[in-house]
């Protein structure tokens, strides 16, 4: 039986995996992937809540699913921009290690 709890726990676990990856990885592509995992964790959470709100009105109940579609769209645009930037950096520096992309320090 898939209950709201299953959705939320899965979402939380995925979010934590993404969070850990975004903080610990040094490869720009891996960081991008981690951020995408975080966004998808949010999607799962939203859809989970949306399916749990059975008693509410139609509009409110669908909000979570529509929000998830917005997030999917934005995540795609974000990945496109990020990959373009990563390629531009790789062409100049031959590295996508964010530890080495560091000309500016205070």
């Amino acid at each position: 039986m898939v209950t709201l709890n299953s959705f939320l726990v899965l979402g939380a676990i995925l979010f934590c995996i993404g969070l850990f990856g975004a903080l610990s990885k040094r490869n720009a592509v891996a960081i991008l992937m981690s951020i995408e995992i975080m966004l998808n964790a949010v999607n799962i959470t939203l859809v989970g809540y949306s399916s749990a709100f059975m008693g509410h009105t139609h509009g409110e109940r669908l909000t979570g699913q529509i929000f998830a579609i917005f997030i999917i769209t934005v995540a795609a645009a974000e990945a496109a921009v990020a990959l373009a930037m990563i390629i531009a950096i790789y062409r100049r520096r031959s590295t996508i290690d964010i530890g080495e992309i560091n000309l500016m320090r205070w």
């Binding site: 949010v42 939203l46 809540y49 934005v74 645009a77 974000e78 921009v81 990563i86 992309i101 500016m104």
Partner: protein
């Protein structure tokens, strides 16, 4: 009832309420389209199209201010209340000034994608306006991403300067990370209230609506929602401890973009933060107020302390923008209608001062992005008295010296804090402002009371000597000769807007420099657009200080939203 399909037909009134946004969007599309037809030599016209679009949008804001109905549109997604129009005004002003700076900057810095540059400037402004006008979490997110995605590209648009790409990359990683956290917060808020509309959330917490809230609160879910939302917003407004990206991005991004984004994103993020926390979550203020109290203190102290040790003026301004975010957070932590109008006044004054300050940096910056350290400012008053005077006025205003815009902003925020029983915040704010005075006045000291030192070596010196040679031959833009052939077509392209101002003064000062300190003079003369923009910023900085009345009235009208 659940089986009736959901329908909502937008009416004409709905479209009218988003008039400024529509105009900016139309102008952005027009620019991207016109870019295909305008030959490479004439891309300067694109800036003209953008500026006309911004002016038209400002007229649209004016129309809505006098004739608008302050209602929400599109099923409660977006509103044309005074708060939204007030922030539209500031954002449009910032993007207008940024666009005026742009032709001169593009011309000098070999930005080859000119059509995309202008299109993205307008789309970033559109995202900011949407975020500030949004009355639904969903639209706040869409606006935020529209502005962020445009700004990532704008930061990284200088393909020949690696710092620019580094800034874009850093901004992308930290900003999208923050967006994900913010989104998780939104999902939690949706989970605890069942709606993403801000008025719906507000109604959910209305007294008596859900009796169990009064006794048990909403427990961990709501706390998690507020925590994640708070972290996400603190990233966006660059509050300490989430400020790490700000200096690098502001320094690395093209200066015309920095001038615009440093104020535009602040306005959008602070207005959205106020809508979410002050308005929607106002009933839960006992839980989030202490957090913002701590963050405000940390940001004021940290921002000012880190600014003190900076030697580069562009970086100093980046830290000063963090410190200013701290003063704005004082208003959030105070959480009264009075403090909210103080926040809006502060945002307005900060906007005019900061676009001016970055404009000066842009005017002095050399083609390699160097030339903005304190040593480069030494003796500036003798070399370029006009620029130095403008910088002095703006820095006095940023330091909060009366009667300037900066003083007005700080006065309203701190006065509201004292009235709102947050004397501690006001005292810390005033003490850190004194600290701020030290580093602002140090720049003025360098400009007026020190002799230029011959410190700039390497590329700067070469650029300078080449520039001098070019000047002797009557080249209109001497410093360009140093940055390579790639600039040439672009330079011709923006000639319409960016005609160099060959005023007597700058010619004289450069002759003096040629005999005294040749390595310092590589910064080219101001373009027409930059001169107009700087004049506008300085005049408004003084005017807001002398006659703050209109902006204060508008801010108080906008803040009335909180009292409803």
């Amino acid at each position: 009832m659940l089986n009736t399909p959901f329908t909502y037909m937008p009416t004409g009134a709905d479209w009218l309420r988003i008039l400024p946004e529509l105009i900016v969007f139309g102008a952005a599309l027009l620019v991207l389209l016109a870019d295909l037809f305008i030959p490479n030599g004439r891309k300067g016209w694109l800036a003209m199209v953008c500026l006309l679009g911004v002016i038209a949008a400002l007229i649209g804001v004016g129309y809505l201010l006098s004739n608008g109905d302050s209602q929400t549109a599109f099923y409660g997604m977006i509103s044309d209340d005074t708060l939204a129009l007030f922030s539209d005004l500031l954002i449009l002003f910032a993007v207008g000034i940024g666009l005026l700076y742009s032709p001169g900057y593009i011309e000098r810095h070999a930005v080859t994608r000119i059509g995309e540059y202008y299109g993205l400037m307008l789309l970033a402004a559109l995202g900011m306006m949407l975020m500030a006008s949004a009355t639904n979490l969903m639209l706040i997110f869409v606006g935020l991403e529209a502005l962020s995605l445009s700004l990532y590209i704008l930061c990284a648009i200088e393909l020949t300067r690696f710092r620019s790409q580094e800034a874009g990359m850093k901004y992308f990683i930290l900003s999208s990370f923050a967006s994900a956290i913010l989104l998780y917060g939104m999902a939690m808020l949706y989970g605890s209230t069942g709606t993403t509309s801000l008025s719906g959330v507000q109604a959910f917490f209305a007294p008596g609506r859900h009796p169990f809230l009064a006794t048990s609160g909403y427990g961990p879910l709501l706390l998690a929602a507020m925590g994640l939302l708070g972290v996400g917003f603190c990233f966006k407004v660059s509050a300490i401890p989430f400020q790490a990206w700000t200096p690098d991005v502001y320094v690395g991004a093209p200066t015309s973009v920095t001038a615009f984004m440093s104020v535009g994103t602040k306005v959008a993020a602070f207005v959205a933060l106020s809508r979410v926390f002050l308005l929607a979550l106002g009933a839960q203020s006992d839980k989030w107020e202490p957090v913002f109290w701590i963050v405000a203190i940390l940001t004021m102290l940290g921002g000012n302390l880190m600014a003190v040790v900076q030697r580069d003026v562009k970086r100093l301004l980046a830290y000063s923008s963090i410190a200013n975010a701290g003063y704005m957070l004082v208003a959030i932590a105070t959480n009264t209608q009075h403090a909210f109008s103080g926040l809006l006044i502060f945002l307005a004054t900060y906007t005019v001062m900061n676009v001016g300050a970055f404009g000066i940096v842009l005017a002095l910056e050399r083609n390699d992005g160097q030339g903005t350290t304190l040593d480069d400012f030494a003796g500036l008053a003798k070399r370029r008295p006009g620029v130095a005077a403008a910088m002095a006025i703006i820095l006095f205003a940023l330091a909060g010296v009366p009667p300037s815009a900066g003083f007005v902003g700080k006065y309203y925020v701190f006065q509201a804090a004292i009235v709102g029983n947050h004397i501690d915040l006001a005292v810390i704010g005033i003490l850190t402002s004194v600290l701020g005075m030290y580093y602002y006045l140090r720049v003025i000291w360098a400009m007026y009371f020190t002799e230029p030192r011959n410190v700039s070596g390497g590329a700067g010196a070469i650029a300078a000597t080449t520039g001098m040679a070019g000047e002797d031959e009557g080249e209109p833009e001497p410093a360009d000769a140093a940055s390579g052939a790639s600039v040439a077509p672009v330079r011709a392209g923006t000639a319409t807007l960016a005609r160099p101002v060959t005023s007597r003064r700058s010619a004289n000062s450069r002759t003096v420099v040629a005999t005294q300190a040749p390595a310092e003079s590589a910064a080219p003369p101001l373009t027409l657009g930059t001169t107009v923009a700087l004049t506008l910023a300085v005049v408004l900085t003084v005017a807001l200080g002398l006659i703050p009345g209109p902006i204060v009235m508008l801010a108080e009208q906008a803040a009335r939203l909180l009292g409803q």
